[in-house]
Amino acid sequence: MAGKTPPRRRRASRLHPGRLIVLTLFCLLLSGTAGAAAYFFPVVVAGVGQTGQTVVVPPTATVGSRPVAAATAPPGSPFTVLLLGSDDDQKFDPNHVLTQSMILVRVNPQTRHVVMESIPRDLWVHLSAGGYAKIDAAYAYGGPAAAIATVQNNFHVHIDEYAWIGLKGLIKLIDLFGGVDVNVMNPVLDDQYPNDIDVKFLYGYQRVAVLPGPQHLDGTHALEYVRSRHNDINGDFGRSARQQQVLLALKAKASTLTPADLPDIVSALSGEFKTSMGLDRVRSLLGLANAFDASNVQQVILYVPTYTSYGQISGQSVLIPHWSQILAVTRANFP
């Protein structure tokens, strides 16, 4: 026993109050971050899957030319977005849909000025993929890159970003916003409105009647309002004007959104929305919506006979572009 020292009783170490506080704060920070991460998880998933889509735009229509990535505008400077809207039901291959709606939007964050120029879907143009066709086919032949290149080549504009939305996505988005308030200027009646949302037979028709006057439209009725075209004396131009009107109404609603709304938005748009914009730019656009006044939004529609004329090519009803007028108005608004 001699020479053996008894094992020293380990003294229970006391946590210093300061360390305890630090540890507590760290744990709370960790759990709070976990809570926030869980909340914004759908946004992160969408950010990876739907935003920041890389687009390689061929600079000219020349076959075999080397594609280069379009340069995007630096933060704070004016930028141009090509908005694309498509039928995306099962009638079409999801990657080869026609764009029923093409709107060029220039946003100037400094002057808080917005210009929207609707491109008629029947406009007869040279496609970036080669050959001539209605411009709504550009997306079908080569996705967003081809749509962007076709618009850039024909309209002589530089497009910084694009955003594509499907029909169901628009319905869900408007419903998420709680509907939109619009003043319907005349009755929108249509006996040949496509009955192709959530039905088995995709080629049927339904009757639509959106009555005139100020009203609150839910997603389904707003879609009827912006999609109907058969009984409009202005045809596709009337529809373009209605699309711009609903976009403005959506902008008014978007100005009330907060980052906390992002998970609901991405969940509503799941699979129905693609954009080249990163989450940062989407978030800053939401912020900008607050600052823009409707009086600072200029709307351009390429009506017949000033900008276009009706024609028949290869048995198709098309719109023949009057390029000198179109390029003049486009150059003035999209410098």
């Binding site: 229970a12 946590l15 507590t24 744990c27 709370l28 960790l30 759990s31 709070g32 976990a34 809570g35 926030a36 869980a38 909340y39 914004f40 998420l176 916003f177 709680g178 509907g179 939109v180 308030d181 619009v182 003043n183 200027m185 005349n186 009755p187 929108v188 009646l189 249509d190 006996d191 040949q192 028709y205 339904q206 009757r207 009647a209 009555l211 005139p212 006057g213 100020p214 009203q215 609150h216 058969h230 009984n231 409009d232 004396i233 202005n234 131009f237 009337g238 009107q245 403005l248 008014a252 609603k253 009330t256 959104l257 907060t258 980052p259 906390a260 709304d261 609901d264 409707a294 009506y303």
Partner: protein
Amino acid sequence: MIVRRLAAIMFVPLMFAFGSGVYVYLGTLKSKAVKEHAQLPTVTKPKFVLPGTMFVVQDGRLFKMNNGSFTEIGPSGDWSQPAITPDHAHLIAVQRNGFSSDLYMLDMNGNVVKKITSNGSRNITFNHWAFYPRVSPDGQTLYFDTDNPKFSRQDPGVDLSVWSMPINGRQTQGRRWTDPYWYTGGDTNPIPVAGGLIFVRHSIDNTTTVHSQIYVQSRPLAIARALTAPTDDCTEPSLSPDGTQLAMICASNRQATTLEVAPFSGTTLGPRRIVMSGALFAGPAWSPDGTALAYFAPVGVAGHFELWYLAVPPAATPSASVAASTGASAAPVVFPTPQPTPIQVTQGVDLTATSAPAWY
């Protein structure tokens, strides 16, 4: 040692609770536009008790409001646009059925008395709409809108015309009153008056802009005369009970309207006065004594259309210029200054703005 382990174990639920709290807290930061959903009128209490009885519509459901409370009336279905017969014994209302709509007569408690029109068909082309029912002052004739005939060139033209029929007669006795401007959606909002008919015509100008104008017409298919100018884009006329004042909604652009009032002689419209501006006003209806208006306007970020009440001040000495040579009225004047203060009647119910209140 045990105490420390216990403390650590106790800390885990605390962390879980805090993380969940952050999650829930972030959810509370959502925009009101996203969070706010319309309530049923029957679970709300009007902020202001209106005189008389009023019928309004919310999302296809009919509601009766009197003595400061709402009661839902009528069978299930997609109901809209109630109108009261002059004897205050019946309602005429629209029921939509997917591809068509029909007019029904209901008693004042919403029980169906009879179906007036029959517009449904298996063939989509033979379906018709019926909207905007109004009963003549003598209670004998029903005026309404229907898309008959349909005009076909390349696309089937579906435009509304104003028709009339005996209220106790058959649809085949119907008589077309107006010949609309095709492919504009047609003529809407008929109001029978002693001298004929007031209605709204949609037309297009040479800059391809579609306009709405209030017209008056003396007999079926006669030439109609404009009471307002094309660029005023006036619509939704409402005639005061004594027939001397016309309230209307005019649009300065696609996202704002004005509520205006003008004296009406039976054939001509006097100077228009803007009584409300700066929002999306819709569906004006005169109070039973003709001294006030009820109308819809959106409230808050959710944009729900709520019911408002506005005491209309008596007309001052007219200061606007006389009617233009075209017969359309001149530009309106803002009257009075300051504008009268409206009273919000409902909150959070989002009433159907294309179904003007029926009030007696």
